[in-house]
Symmetry: C2
Subunit: 313 residues, 2 copies
Amino acid sequence: MTSPFSIGIIQDLADQDPAANLARATRLIREATARGAQIICLKELFNAPYFCKAQHADRFDLAEPIPGPTTDALQTLAKELEVVLVVPLFERQGPGVYRNSAAVIDADGSLMGVYRKMHIPDDPLFYEKYYFTPGDGPSPAGSPLSPEASGFKVWKTRYATIGVLICWDQWFPEGARLTAMQGAEILVYPTAIGWHPAEKATHGEHQQAAWETMQRSHAIANGCFVVAVNRVGFEPDPSSSGKPQAGIEFWGQSFIAAPDGRIVVRAPVEHEAVIVQEIDLAEIDASRIGWPFFRDRRIDAYAEITKRFGDGD
Amino acid sequence: MTSPFSIGIIQDLADQDPAANLARATRLIREATARGAQIICLKELFNAPYFCKAQHADRFDLAEPIPGPTTDALQTLAKELEVVLVVPLFERQGPGVYRNSAAVIDADGSLMGVYRKMHIPDDPLFYEKYYFTPGDGPSPAGSPLSPEASGFKVWKTRYATIGVLICWDQWFPEGARLTAMQGAEILVYPTAIGWHPAEKATHGEHQQAAWETMQRSHAIANGCFVVAVNRVGFEPDPSSSGKPQAGIEFWGQSFIAAPDGRIVVRAPVEHEAVIVQEIDLAEIDASRIGWPFFRDRRIDAYAEITKRFGDGD
């Protein structure tokens, strides 16, 4: 592996035309590559509007299999450009089994695998539990299902070992930890997060700060890089067109955090951006020697973390 | 329980005289109480200099049992003032078994129990593995040892349910999670953290930011309050008196973070301070409804968190 090397972030928007969205992503990937990016990450559900703003059965038509036409096209592109691509897609795994997924394509164009979002949100304007089957937990021993199909995981790409988690996953320290423990040098979080118009004035600043803070904490706690790739721009909710301001203002501000938690680069809040940033993987070992958290984890005392909650009161 | 209510933070220093340190703490606790504080937290190893800067067998003389003279005195004070006290002490549990502990005293003066630091650091100027036996993990079923003696835990005090963790624990999301899952409304982190003179210029800003970021992330991920109580001021290392700048500059900046991660109050970097801050426990449920992370934890997929690390390479 070569280090330092460069990460590329495509912070963009998407409209109703999947072909146009793929064409835009292709153009921006070529731009990032021309500027030196070697691992390039797209936003969550990259080739569609964030359709989960409302529950509509016809939106399942946006899904496609992995491998499928979109990953085929991007595998060809990855091979041509010799870049690693993280491609978040609405995946149709089978009839009635739809996932919020991300395909990982190596720099030789091979499809390395797919991560399926483990933590699925469900809030006003984010109706994801309607659309997505959560990623599966570990298969029991002896299961005929491939262990590669489930859970938190990493891929040893040509340039670095990366783990992929998706959006809501970013609020759960467990997901970051379990991915880092498998050797991830970079945690990639394709994301679609923004302000609800009714909340922006009162809570918007704290919401964005909390989002960034949580992901910086994953970098610190796990001594690795975090790459957050967000959507940008306002998307109206088509089902609520009669209401003023109905929709989501995606807050951009994609960023890279280093193992010491510092923000290396941050994209703008309101504009499409292609970020290309050199990072040095040697920072990982240096950070973990300076802050040896893995040395001191109390693994004898963590078993209860598989419980839901205590008794409370 | 009454809410809103007020938290008190005693951010101070300590010199070589334990009696003077107790007298100072008593005076500052009275001041905090006069200003309305109901749960008052002292810094890590409150009644001694941070003696772990070097390995000296005679410093074990600083330890005392719990209950012991210091907790006796502070139980009397707590009863008189009707305040809850978190009292971090160097505990002598028995011959050769010394702990970095915190006693919890309820507002009626009763000693509710003791937390024993689970994650023990060991770095230049922080030689804690020499002095402290780590807090024990959970006792196996049928053990004659009291389960109350070990692990992560909470106390239902008169004013709130609090969990106590100590300093290095603050870097481990697992400890915060396991304490919050038991119902903690407030996570208290008595701390002794500062700048190593050789590192302050190059790393100091990022180190302090990382420290604050990690603890804010515990507030966010667990939808609870976090109260960090740090030591302040420069302490020379007596064993290194010949070297310029040998010692630790404790960076103060004790703070309270709300469940949405915002910093409610932050103490100064260089001065002793008594912080009294009203907080509203109703923010906890509001935050957890807005960000329902406990709803969505993938407890079926977290078992591997009890492993040390993957194969890596």
